[in-house]
């Protein structure tokens, strides 16, 4: 649909995805408005403002050329890796776990920024690797280093959820790049053996408790199982059409912990019911479908890998969060994009969106290549 009198720069924007995100985040604002007991403070108003700021940032990113991403990929990765190291050292010095750097005007959580950065770096690496070398050692050890260093640092924080997201993001790009399938099958088997061992020797006691609680939340209904139990009560009591806007008792009477951050889906589901939940899942479906279409139609190997990896990163946020909230995964502290209140995660997700928009823009500039691969979805 072309409207003649709309100026070119406005017509050039990816309106479809912007509209989707506006509606989605608007819904988030409504949920946070209700979670605060019918008030724009302290969460809903800030959430809306942040989103607008980050949306503009994403649009700015979308004008950056592919070459800039390629050029910046490794330096950015190294800088964020150093920030992670800095956080770790600060934490050691001050005692206790620390996850953010205080920059004066805002707090930066480097582990969040690492999520797109690792995808960028790994995509950069595989795009420059000659096709013939994809089945050689040279295709594997750089991945292990690029993935292993930040994963180890984040695990030390300790932040299991983010560690998993970083690893899965990197591995996804490697998988898409065409590493031999046998490697993944083998790694899968190894993980099946290693995970119980990791549970016993690597996880902190509080993380072990979370996993144990996840497997049987009723064991400890007032301790660590409280989050999962109350969250499921909120979702389950919402029924098909929910208790109504501003009518959720679990969230308003403080039974649901973290109802505006990690458990915002439960806050939503209590008031909007199954209908609201399916709508949220469908919104993610639209967003991810957009991501995969971009990936399939992208003009270069780098942009294909990048788009796939970023789409996976967004997917991981949403999937892990919703699985946790519904009792399908342990409580790992991952927010739900566009709905959860929180600056760092929104910044990360909007960086991903900005890069995806940039790929979109570049794809549209070269329509001739899209025919060759745009056959699917």
């Amino acid at each position: 649909m072309q409207i003649a009198f709309v100026p070119q720069p406005l017509r050039a924007q990816p309106w479809g995805i912007i509209l989707l995100l506006l509606v989605f985040t608007g819904f988030g604002v409504a949920i946070l408005y209700s979670a605060a007991g019918g008030s724009f403070t302290p969460w809903a108003g800030l959430h809306a403002v942040r989103f607008m700021v980050f949306l503009i940032m994403a649009l700015v990113i979308s004008y950056m050329p592919e070459e800039l991403f390629k050029f910046a990929a490794l330096p950015v990765f190294v800088i964020i890796l150093l920030m992670l190291l800095g956080v770790e050292i600060l934490g050691q010095v001050r005692g206790g776990s620390q996850r953010w750097l205080e920059l004066g005007f805002m707090r930066i959580q480097p582990s969040e920024l690492m999520k797109p950065a690792i995808v960028l770096a790994v995509a950069r690496f595989y795009s420059s690797l000659p096709p013939a070398m994809i089945r050689s050692w040279s295709a594997i050890w750089p991945l292990l280093i690029m993935m292993g260093l930040p994963a180890a640092l984040v695990l030390l924080q300790p932040d299991l959820g983010t560690t998993i997201t970083i690893c899965v993001g990197a591995v996804t790009v490697a998988f898409l790049a065409g590493l031999p399938m046998r490697l993944f099958v083998g790694a899968g088997l190894a993980a099946a053996i290693a995970i119980p061992l990791a549970y016993l020797f690597l996880l902190e006691p509080y993380q072990q408790r979370r996993v144990a609680t996840f497997l049987n939340p009723e064991n400890d209904p007032l301790g660590s199982g409280y989050h999962i139990t109350q969250s499921q009560i909120a979702i389950g009591s919402g029924g098909i059409d929910g208790k109504g806007f501003l009518q959720g008792s679990q969230s308003h009477l403080d039974y649901l912990p973290e109802g505006h951050t990690d458990f915002v889906f439960a806050t939503m589901a209590e008031e909007w019911g199954l209908i609201g939940g399916i709508a949220v899942i469908f919104a993610y479906f639209l967003l991810l479908r957009w991501g995969w279409r971009l990936s399939l139609n992208a003009p270069s190997r780098f942009t294909k890998l990048l788009a796939g990896g970023l789409t996976m990163t967004i997917f991981l946020y949403a999937a892990i969060n919703m699985m946790m909230v519904m009792g399908l995964a342990p409580v790992v502290g991952i927010p739900l994009p566009f709905l959860s209140h929180g600056g760092s995660s929104m910044l990360t997700v909007m960086i991903c969106i900005g890069m995806l928009m940039a790929i979109d823009r570049q794809t549209k500039k070269q329509p001739q290549t899209s025919l060759s691969s745009g056959l699917l979805v």
Binding site: R135, G178, S249, Y255, R301, A319
Partner: protein
């Protein structure tokens, strides 16, 4: 070089990589769609299939059911006047479990409510002793302003519960303390014995002593309920629904509350008991025991100092002397013993000679006077001991003991009271069993004048007198709604009773020992018998001019009117120094029954002499006790300080 060298070599080109990419991205996309479907399915399961269960859980989170303590049934007297009632009350409790910072909370409450130091001490002790979930009372009977002051600060005072409820009120105060007992918060043992959630509901109290304890189930009633919406931290958001309580049933006593109060006042500074029984049916009209505790302050959670004062008092205000005080009845049992003599065939006109005593075995038993020639009438009127020594020797102990039992001595009555001491009616069999000793003539002599092993409580003396006056085997009642048992006549010749009653009349109207016991009421004559019970042997003094706790007990039993007995009364004054302390009390109490205005005029004058009403004197005494304690502790401090310095 390739990693997996063994297999056939794959030719890898940009084009084949692109195909791999497409295939694998489809795989991942498919897996993601699968996760999406899994989430949608899971959510559908939770929200649809398990909806009912989770809705219930959500409701049980949101809604909190609190019990509303039922209003306790009243205890009323025979005329329907309240002895124990309820009054609307603003209270503040603490739920120890929910306290976050006990010291700070207590300090703040002390400031808000102006709590005195000994109250804070009491709250601390209660907090230590309570189980975490049981409320501890901080203060009751608050003004609305204080109640509101605590209520608005609730968010900063976790564990503090202001309650608007009812508290127990005893209009007659100390006068009914021993009779009705008191109420209080259930303690840990009581909750274990009856694990009813009502018992740990803030504001609920159970009977702890006396009738309040005996009639707990009747008085308790059914709790109401209040459904409220609460937050996870327990703050009440709003009321949802309310069910009213069902008040407990009233308990109607045979007691005449005004008489009871009068008797308690008339006992004044003495330590003693007054009992009045109805000679027609055995109703107990008055069961007073003084000094006593004020059940109002006990039910509010008594202060540490106040309790210490009661415990240390040598007049034992914590003991119900009417039922658990045991005293040698002394001469008050002489008329009854005369019935035994008459039944054994002794002629009432037969005289003996009192020469100031008589020899029994190898011991000389003294009489308090030299009465000369004494017949039965004179023996009763002037309380000649020699007559009883001699006559009892003649007929032996067994018929005397049988007569005592016929009059209800040594008996535990079927009364709704927590405790009765029933005393001793001694006889040879009993002595052999108890002390493994043969009964001797000296034992008979002692028993014949109500000393030695004979022990009775004041109620038994009243029952004895009522039976003697009525000729019926009256059984004491405390409740009007229990069916009064039909009383059988005693197996005693009515003529014998006439003789003995005439002797008792002469105690007052003849040349007797209590001539000043006459009632200032026209046409009502009183008949009675004095008694003096030795506390220590006469060798330690005469029982009068010795320290209070060695003085003789004074007793008096009587009935009136003489010609048609209606009321029987017993008065025991501990360490009263003789019956002279007892019969004026009995006289005034009987006067109250026949002419209230006259009696009330006299009591006002008496109380002015004692230093005020019961309440005023108790207050003054408490103030003195506290001042004393403060002075003592100040004294200790000053005597200690040199040691510390050295």
């Amino acid at each position: 070089m390739t990693i997996f060298g063994g297999g056939k070599k794959k030719i890898i080109s940009a084009a084949s990589q692109n195909i791999t990419f497409n295939r694998r991205s489809l795989l991942i996309g498919g897996a993601q769609a699968g996760v999406g479907l899994l989430l949608a399915g899971r959510m559908t399961y939770i929200a649809v299939a398990e909806n009912e269960r989770y809705q219930m859980l959500s409701e049980s989170n949101r809604v909190n059911l609190t019990l509303v303590p039922p209003r306790r049934g009243w205890i009323i007297d025979r005329n329907g006047k309240p002895i124990a009632s309820n009054r609307a009350d603003f209270r503040v409790d603490i739920i120890p479990d929910r306290l976050v910072n006990p010291e700070q909370t207590l300090d703040e409450l002390a400031l808000l409510l102006n709590l005195p130091d000994d109250e804070i001490e009491r709250i601390r002790t209660d907090l230590e002793q309570s189980r975490g979930f049981q409320p501890v009372q901080v203060a009751s009977g608050l003004r609305w302003e204080d109640y509101a002051a605590v209520s608005v600060r609730l968010p900063d005072l976790p564990g503090v519960a202001p309650i608007q409820g009812f508290s127990r009120q005893y209009p007659a105060g100390a006068a009914v303390g021993h009779l009705v007992g008191y109420v209080g918060v259930a303690n840990a043992e009581e909750y274990d014995a009856e694990p009813n959630p009502l018992l740990i509901t803030p504001g609920f109290k159970i009977g702890k002593d006396g009738l309040e304890k005996q009639f707990e189930q009747e008085l308790r009633g059914e709790p109401g309920a209040r459904r409220v919406e609460v937050t996870a931290r327990g703050r009440v958001v709003r009321d949802l629904e309310k069910r009213d309580d069902v008040p407990g049933d009233p308990v109607k006593l045979t007691i005449d509350a005004e008489l009871q109060r009068y008797a308690a006042r008339r006992l004044g500074e003495e330590s003693g008991s007054v009992i009045v029984m109805d000679c027609k049916n055995g109703d107990i009209l008055c069961l007073a025991s003084m000094p006593s505790f004020d059940p109002n302050s006990f039910s509010d959670g008594i202060g540490f100092d106040e309790y210490a004062m009661l415990r240390e008092d040598d007049h034992v205000p914590l003991r119900n002397k009417s039922l658990v005080g045991l005293y040698p009845p002394g001469s008050t049992i002489k008329p009854m013993n005369c019935l035994a003599f008459l039944q054994a065939g002794i002629d009432p006109e037969e005289t003996i000679t009192c020469g100031g005593g008589t020899r029994v075995g190898n011991r000389f038993f003294r009489c308090h006077s030299n009465h000369g020639s004494v017949n039965m009438d004179k023996a009763i009127a002037q309380s000649c001991d020699t007559y009883f020594y001699k006559m009892a020797q003649r007929i032996g102990m067994d018929p005397v003991a049988a007569m005592m039992r016929e009059h209800g001595l040594g008996e535990e009555y079927d009364l709704p009271v927590p405790n009765q001491f029933y005393g001793t009616v001694p006889d040879p069999v009993w002595l052999q069993r108890k002390y493994d000793r043969r009964w001797t003539g000296a034992d008979t002599a002692n028993s014949s004048i109500g000393q030695g092993y004979v022990l009775t409580n004041p109620l038994q003396l009243a029952v004895m007198t009522a039976r003697l006056a009525s000729g019926q085997k009256l059984v004491p009642n405390l409740l009007t709604n229990t069916r009064r048992t039909k009383h059988e006549a005693m197996q005693i010749n009515p003529e014998h009773l006439e003789v003995v009653r005439a002797g008792m009349r002469n105690v007052v109207y003849g040349a007797g020992t209590a001539r000043r016991a006459r009632l200032p009421v026209e046409n009502v004559e009183v008949a009675g018998k004095t008694g003096t019970a030795q506390v220590v042997s006469l060798s330690r003094g005469d029982g009068r001019n010795v320290p209070w706790k060695f003085r003789d007990h004074g007793l008096f039993v009587c009935f009136a009117p003489f010609d048609n007995p209606r009321y029987a009364c017993s008065v025991v004054i501990e360490h009263g120094g003789g019956s002279g302390a007892a019969y004026p009390v009995a006289r005034d109490v009987l006067t109250f029954l026949f002419d209230r205005e006259k009696a009330l005029e006299d009591i006002a004058a008496l109380e002015a002499g004692w230093g005020g009403t019961i309440e005023e004197r108790a207050e003054a005494k408490f103030a003195a006790f506290q001042a004393n304690k403060a002075a003592a502790s100040a004294g200790n401090d000053s005597s200690n300080s040199p040691d510390e310095a050295g």
